[in-house]
Symmetry: C2
Subunit: 94 residues, 2 copies
DNA sequence: GCCCTATCTTGACATACTTCGAAACAGTGC
DNA sequence: GCACTGTTTCGAAGTATGTCAAGATAGGGC
């Protein structure tokens, strides 16, 4: 792992390194698509705070979103998860 | 993923969420054992700083260490990596 | 044994980043 | 216009990062 690769990948792990974001990502990954209004009630946090965490997941490339009428829908980016998974798996099997 | 599971797992991702620690973990994982004195030269950081990052990896349960004479040897905890990997892989394959 | 050096960790500190809520803003539909 | 859903901005409190100095532990020379 060289410096550039670490700088590219670390933000993804960092994004998952918060309990709230980890749960958000898990909820989004559990379905094909998830509306923000379905996520917010599961947390004792304000709307802006959830929105902030979603933005970090978005900027890390782990999720993507689209506004469709009144609601905003989020979905997981499977390729990103896959690359992290294989990265962890190689040394784990040694 | 319930709240307790997230609180247990997030610190591991957080530990990997720093470029320096990600590279440290990768270097340690690449060999059966690694001496701290082999890690430090690869970074433009002081010894105490490296030691600090290694402590975080240790507290996250990702690596373990042992003093053997003058040197301290670190090794990876494969089970921890494996659990993170499978966690990511399930939704990634959907 | 005693001192000296080398290796690594710990403690104290300054700086920078995170987290979160309140208020303001933007987009959509009636 | 008005109500509703999310996002952005701003500020306060907490947490992380990195350096310096000091401490702990081991080995070698005398």
């Amino acid at each position: 792992m060289d410096e550039a690769a670490a700088a590219r990948i670390a933000p993804m792990f960092k994004a998952l390194g918060d309990p709230v974001r980890l749960r958000l990502a898990a909820m989004i990954a559990a379905q094909a698509e998830t509306c923000v209004c379905d996520l917010t009630p599961h947390f004792a946090l304000s709307g802006p705070t959830i929105s902030h965490h979603l933005k970090i997941l978005r900027e890390a490339g782990l999720v993507d979103c689209e506004r469709r009428g009144t609601w905003v829908h989020y979905w997981i980016q499977p390729a990103a998860l896959q690359s992290l998974s294989t990265l962890l798996q190689a040394p784990a099997q040694r």
